[in-house]
């Protein structure tokens, strides 16, 4: 990197591309007389600008955490949230009758899976599960674990949830696992944007504005469960 400067001097001063090394002693020195501002003004200006930029970015990020989309303040907004139709168990005791996500025909088929998954979450006891349901729930849990792992924004998620057996916290319903799950979900705030049908052609916008149903139910279920602790 050091001879860059030598070469730049060559290119700045000569029109022919004679490639030889030159040092600054060979050329006329830069005159420092008659400087209006301080010598290091560019240096100081650069570092001040950089510091302002970093601090500004931090404040913008913290501001983003405080404000959100305005419609979330509306207490009725819960009804606009997407719920699976015919949900088996609702731990808070109210049934939702409409959801946009599930009105699409290509999502019909996965509804039974979600009903199963949700009811499994809501039960406190072990349930007899068919193998394929286990594997698909396992898949979801793996993705949750992975997204939890990659999410360094919530590092304590890794400590509490993202271990070598991520599935145990979500599939096996032993009490200790539920406790760990409570800790997991209470800190986990970056949800997975789960596309309900892997082959669907939902556009990007649909994914962005529909929160994950699994995590909603989980947080709901575990809010009910964890609050009792």
């Amino acid at each position: 990197m050091s001879d860059f400067h030598n070469r730049s001097q060559v290119s700045a001063r000569r029109s022919d591309y004679v490639w030889q090394y030159e040092y600054y002693e060979d050329e006329e020195p830069v005159s420092f007389e008659g400087l209006k501002a301080h010598r290091y003004s560019i240096v100081i200006g650069f570092w001040v600008g950089l510091a302002v930029f970093v601090i500004f970015m931090f404040f913008v990020l913290t501001l983003l955490t405080k404000t959100g989309a305005p419609h979330q303040e509306n207490p009725d907004s819960g009804e606009k949230r997407h719920r699976p139709e015919g949900c088996l168990v609702d731990i808070n005791g109210h049934q939702d009758d409409n959801d946009k996500a599930f009105s699409r025909p290509l999502l019909e088929g996965s509804r039974s899976y979600f009903n199963f998954y949700i009811s499994e979450e809501d039960q406190a006891h072990e349930k007899q599960k068919p193998e394929d349901k286990m594997s698909s729930a396992k898949d979801k849990a793996e993705r949750l674990q992975r997204s939890a792992e990659i999410d360094e924004m919530d590092e304590d998620v890794e400590e509490s949830g993202g271990q070598h057996q991520p599935l145990s916290g979500l599939i096996e319903k032993s009490k200790s696992d539920r406790d760990r799950e409570c800790a997991f979900l209470s800190h986990f705030s970056i949800p997975n944007f789960v596309n309900l049908d892997p082959g669907s052609t939902l556009g990007e916008d649909d994914l962005l504005y529909e929160p994950s149903v699994i995590l909603e139910r989980q947080s709901q279920a575990h809010n009910g469960h964890c609050d009792t602790h």
């Binding site: 990020l61 955490t65 949230r81 993202g162």
Partner: protein, 307 residues
């Protein structure tokens, strides 16, 4: 080989070149080499870590390793040349100088590409979660990494051979700015969407009414903002001074103010090297799986059974 020589002592009030003592260079170089080599070895040897995300981190660590090795080697040569054992302008030394400059360029372009790849990978993981395994297969990861490495090698050779053309320098700078903007955008977008949806979940009829939960969420949000600031701030603080240096030698080689900026060249190089030092702390050591592998590697008594 030689760094910027200081301006001749004369009646002019000049900006003396700031020299960084060699032990600082060596320490930074060797520590960053050790850290990054550890990451590379851990990812390569452990079966758990053969996933796209860890491959990109391994590539980043490999580029940082190359940068550390090259810089340390160059410093060694400078020490030897100062001591008189090496000829500064002899042909083998200039060739070696070219090789080292190429390697440094390569590692520089490579680290930036790796950052970009990591950001895109995280973006896909969050926003296309169900299709992630189809989008980011190991074959595609290998292809992407191969592309990055060949691109960096080619660019490095071109950069050093044709450095006289200002066009190359401008390309370099544009590449840096574009990558910076892309990485910034990706992370801020992920962050924004995550916060919005965290609020969505909290706005559910069952959720969010608990005050302690609200405070916990606020705490984790602050931590998220801090992490992102550190990630991005470290990148900008460590790389930008050197880049502004490149801009300055392109734009105003003879201006006295620019001259004073250029006199801090060695400090800027130390900053760049220290980014290779803190990269593992920001990216790799935050993954629980990787930390677990390290513990197994370093503290396991029987190597054969550990990995």
């Amino acid at each position: 080989l030689s760094p910027i020589s200081s301006l001749p002592s004369s009646t002019h009030t000049s900006c003396p070149e700031v020299k960084v003592p060699f032990p600082v260079f060596f320490t930074v170089g060797i520590v960053s080499l050790a850290e990054n080599l550890l990451v590379v070895v851990a990812v390569m040897r452990s079966r758990n870590l053969h996933s796209p995300m860890y491959c990109f981190m391994c590539s980043l660590a490999a580029f940082n390793t190359i940068a550390s090795v090259t810089k340390t080697w160059e410093n060694l040569m400078i020490v030897l040349a100062d001591a008189g054992h090496l000829e500064r302008r002899g042909p083998p030394e200039t060739d070696l100088d070219d090789v080292m400059d190429s390697l440094l360029c390569m590692s520089f372009v490579g680290s930036i590409s790796s950052f970009l790849a990591i950001a895109v990978d995280r973006y896909i993981t969050i926003f296309h979660a169900l299709r992630y395994h189809n989008i980011m297969t190991m074959q595609r990861t290998a292809a992407i990494l191969g592309l990055i490495w060949t691109l960096c090698a080619v660019l490095a050779v071109l950069m050093v051979k044709f450095f006289n053309f200002k066009f190359i320098m401008i390309c370099f700078i544009v590449f840096f700015v574009v990558s910076l903007a892309a990485i910034c955008f990706l992370y801020v977008y992920m962050f924004m969407m995550a916060r919005i949806h965290a609020k969505n979940i909290a706005a559910l009829p069952g959720g969010g009414r608990d005050k302690s939960q609200h405070q916990r969420r606020w705490g984790s949000n602050m931590r998220g903002a801090l992490t992102l600031t550190i990630l991005f701030g470290a990148f900008v603080v460590c790389w930008a001074p050197f880049f502004v240096h490149l801009v300055i030698i392109t734009v105003c080689p003879m201006n006295p103010y620019c001259e004073c900026y250029r006199s801090l060249f060695e400090l800027h190089v130390v900053l760049m090297m220290s980014h290779a030092l803190i990269d593992p702390a920001i990216y790799a050591f935050r993954m629980a799986e990787l930390r677990h592998t390290f513990r197994k590697m370093l503290f396991c008594s029987d190597w054969k059974f550990c990995l």
